[in-house]
Symmetry: C2
Subunit: 160 residues, 2 copies
Amino acid sequence: MIQLDDLDRAILRLLKEDARLTISEIAGRLGRPESTVHFRIKKLQEQNVIDKYTIVLGERLQPKSLAIVYIQAETPIIEDFLERYILYLMKTLSMFPNVLAVARSGKAGIIALIGEENREKLNRFVDETIRALPTLKKVEVFPIDSFTKGKEIVGFLVGV
Amino acid sequence: MIQLDDLDRAILRLLKEDARLTISEIAGRLGRPESTVHFRIKKLQEQNVIDKYTIVLGERLQPKSLAIVYIQAETPIIEDFLERYILYLMKTLSMFPNVLAVARSGKAGIIALIGEENREKLNRFVDETIRALPTLKKVEVFPIDSFTKGKEIVGFLVGV
DNA sequence: TATGAAAGACATCATGT
DNA sequence: ACATGATGTCTTTCATA
């Protein structure tokens, strides 16, 4: 399996903070030679410890109003139908740009993270688009007001 | 407000996919001179449209079992106490490395994203650490089985 | 704001300790 | 694992439109 030592972890932590740090910067901060840092990063990429490099978009492009929505479908007689219906619902939801994430929760449940400019638009989306989906048993809305951890997911998930 | 044109958006989309693309690569793909692309990226950074560059960690470092947990505190007589208690709970939860995100939901609610190696450990954490917190009215667990959108948040949020 | 050219910084790789 | 140096590529700046 993967054995990360302290140097690997230190490099990963620095890159997580700022993936544009140059190798010589990292080497300087950690008091290691550039060649070593270069070698480690290359290995971390090859081993897929580093999956990808990406950007987080700033607040000005982020939706101001967020909510987690839990959707539960009715359980029909034919189970195979439920399976296909859930997958269809998830794919459908995934297509909306204001639906930031969609996950399956159990046999008949879906969790979605919704983002909109303001509370009114968010409520309207939930009422007019989500609750309007056929054959739902329950739609539970958990508004998100603030973060103490993971706030950056919004800028990470939002599209352009 | 911010006016992004097609070139800005194209650059952002490319950087979102791979933030290590060189300016000359991007310039080549978009059929624009390097200096123009360089100028745009610089502006996007200054305007804070690009908030930061970061890495997403691969599956081998990610928790295999995830759940959204909704926690609702009991509403006490003194409202100011609830306020401080909720903030205390959020800060406490945020300190666990396996708690990937913590958000407030309404006056008395908290939403947390929990990650663990497997289902057993996850259930144990919920039972022994979360349900053990005092003065809770309700703890609702929504296991996350798969994603159709936003799967990458796990590698984005997980620490080293 | 866009572009082209030129200078400097950087990553990368090979070789040797 | 670390050092050094050679090479080509990339970023960055600046002058110009």
